[in-house]
């Protein structure tokens, strides 16, 4: 239940091709995250899977059956929209019950499922309110409730947390992960927040301009990015890239070193530079180091205790075993 396969799927809006031919398999029960910069086609891809957009060529299989021409309601998928898309004139109970009523389920079963969803999502206290009388987080939960009562083959989320404040976002992130562990249903989750991607995903799909740049587990993407784009996109702060003579020492066109893999010292090291802005987060400190002659800025993560002043001269040493090497085309070497 819930294995989705995309076969040479393309999508064009008029003349412009938004999704070039794309193959992807999402296994049953997997939490898959689509990430990529704005406008890369994440929402479009999700809407193609949902059936809200017609695919231009190719086909989509759900559980081994060709779903290309199946209307959205019949695909057995549930979607949670970025704007929540709750029905404003219905109470929370009616909102959650709506898909069941449309399926002509009997009232006893509807009540059982709605009450169950409401208790799972802590909505019992608001069940008779209208969406307009709820906070953002509560609305989000109603939208999720409306999705889970249908017991769908897969859940589709389109940036569901982007309208919430930072604290609530962390909370809802955990709740959705928890829900996934409990239901073990396939989930496809679109976001451009790479922290969400790293923390929630079983599998991350990195997209750029409709192309899949890499598919893999969060750690695979972190440890072995296939190209410069993925290397720069996954990880926060961004990986540092060094070109030229220093890269040639590693037999590469470009080398990438993550900020957490560079040691900083006031006395000795491989690269000499001058401290610019330092960001103290308490647990960690990020130093932006200039004038190294390698790149405009190198970002370095150090322990929260370490402290250098603006303008101090420092020495940086990359950890040799985790230096990423890329060729002239930007592809990973080794």
């Amino acid at each position: 239940m819930g294995r989705i396969t995309l076969n040479k799927v393309t999508k064009s809006f008029g003349e412009t091709q938004v999704i070039p031919p794309l193959d992807l398999t999402i296994e049953d029960g997997e939490f898959t995250v689509f990430v990529g910069p704005s406008g890369c086609g994440k929402s479009t891809l999700l809407r193609l899977i949902a059936g809200l957009e017609d695919i231009t060529t190719g086909h989509i299989d759900i559980d081994g059956m060709d779903a290309t021409a199946v209307p959205p309601a019949k695909r057995g998928l549930a979607m949670v929209f970025q704007s929540y898309a709750l029905y404003p004139h219905m109470s929370v109970r009616k909102n959650i019950a709506f898909p069941l009523r449309m399926a002509k389920m009997d009232q006893v079963e509807i009540d059982r499922r709605v009450d169950n969803a409401a208790s799972v999502l802590n909505l019992a206290d608001y069940i008779d309110r209208r969406p307009g009388q709820l906070s953002g987080g509560q609305r989000q939960r109603v939208a999720i409730g409306r999705a889970i009562v249908r017991e769908p083959a897969a859940f589709l989320f389109d940036e569901p947390l982007s309208n919430l404040d930072a604290a609530l976002r962390v909370g809802m992130r955990l709740e959705i992960s928890e829900l996934h562990k409990r239901l073990e249903t396939t989930m496809i989750y679109v976001t451009h927040d790479q922290v969400e991607a790293m923390t929630m995903a079983d599998k991350i799909v990195v997209l750029r301009a409709g192309h899949i740049e890499q598919v893999g587990s969060p750690l695979e993407l972190y440890k072995a990015p296939r190209n410069l784009f993925v290397a720069g996109f996954i990880g926060s702060p961004k990986m540092n890239f060094v070109e030229g003579a220093e890269a040639a020492k590693y037999d590469a066109h470009t080398v990438g070193v993550r900020p957490e893999h560079i040691a900083i010292s006031g006395t000795e090291g491989a690269w000499k530079g001058r401290v610019g802005v330092s960001e103290h987060l308490g647990s960690d400190t990020f130093f932006h180091v200039h004038d190294t002659g390698l790149a405009e800025t190198l970002t370095v993560r150090a322990d929260g205790e370490v402290s250098f002043k603006h303008g101090d001269t420092v020495y940086l040493t990359p950890r040799e075993d985790v230096v990423h090497r890329f060729d002239a085309q930007g592809l990973r070497i080794g």
Partner: protein, 288 residues
């Protein structure tokens, strides 16, 4: 507008407008009330002093009174039903992406710019004329006897003409409401398994509730006083005499200003009853 001083300043600045509006409304109202208690026959002795409630009892006692109230309500009700239903259909159609959308929308709105007198004349002479009208030709083409619209189906004809005039208004208001509906709600309903009819019933219609209320209230205000359409087409004959028309006849044809004024007061009462009634039924949509 929260502080004490800003509130009183606001009151001061609004005062001229409020006073002007009050005067504007009160002056005719008071004159009407004044004349309604007097015997005033301009061509037969002029103002002949107070008569108490005589005008009121005579107006309501006339055999033409209750039929005219009924006619008024039928016309208002008929036009409301037609314009709201067709307005919703047209609004949904016009919301679809199509070729030449701009032009079609202007065409749909056009009837609203035609003066009532003109449109009634056009309908009467070009469409409904039993000899030369387009409908007559159409009927003859199919071998039927042409209908004498304005005498045989007079009330229906007037409802049709007035609906034609007001449909653009209803369509326009409803179209803006349709356009303001969040597309994701419809998509969510589609994924929830609601076919088109149910999406319309559960999502679109509740969303339109407020706009429909506004259309009904505004149209009622104007429809209660339609006059030109009746004057030009049937002249109040064949059961098309509305309350407004009856008042017109009392004042101008019978030259009885006192009686007409009493009718005017009844018209105000009728309008208020209708308004309260409508507010009760549909006004609750405005609350949420």
């Amino acid at each position: 507008m929260a502080t004490q001083s800003s509130r009183s300043a606001a009151r001061l600045m609004m005062a001229p407008a409020v006073i002007l509006l009050l005067g504007w409304m009160l002056a005719p109202l008071i004159t009407t009330l004044y004349f309604s208690f007097r015997r005033y026959l301009p061509l037969r002795g002029g103002d002949q002093g107070w008569v108490g409630f005589e005008n009121y009892t005579r107006f309501i006692g006339s055999s033409a009174f209750w039929p005219s109230v009924q006619t008024t309500l039928i016309i208002v009700g008929g036009v409301l039903v037609i314009t709201v239903l067709l307005g919703i259909v047209l609004a949904l159609l016009l919301d679809q992406p199509m070729w030449g959308q701009g032009i079609v929308r202007i065409l749909v709105i056009a009837p609203f710019f035609v003066m009532p007198t003109v449109s009634a004349l056009v309908w009467k002479n070009m469409f409904m004329d039993p000899v030369n009208g387009l409908f007559a030709h159409l009927w003859k083409f199919f071998g039927a006897t042409p209908v004498e619209w304005l005498s045989q189906a007079s009330l229906q004809s007037i409802v049709m003409i007035v609906s034609w005039q007001w449909l653009p208004f209803a369509t326009l208001i409803l179209l803006t409401a349709v356009q303001s509906l969040d597309g994701e709600q419809l998509e969510a309903a589609e994924m929830d398994g609601a076919p088109f009819i149910k999406r319309f019933w559960y999502i679109v219609l509740p969303h339109l509730g407020r706009a429909i209320t506004i259309v009904i209230l505004i149209q009622t205000i104007f429809l209660l006083s339609i006059f030109a359409e009746i004057f030009v087409t049937t002249g109040g004959a064949f059961g098309t005499r509305t309350l407004t028309y009856l008042i017109f006849q009392r004042v101008l044809e019978s030259q009885n200003i006192g009686l007409g004024s009493a009718g005017g007061v009844y018209a105000i009462i009728l309008a208020n009853i209708v308004a309260i009634f409508l507010m009760r039924i549909v006004g609750k949509n405005l609350d949420n």
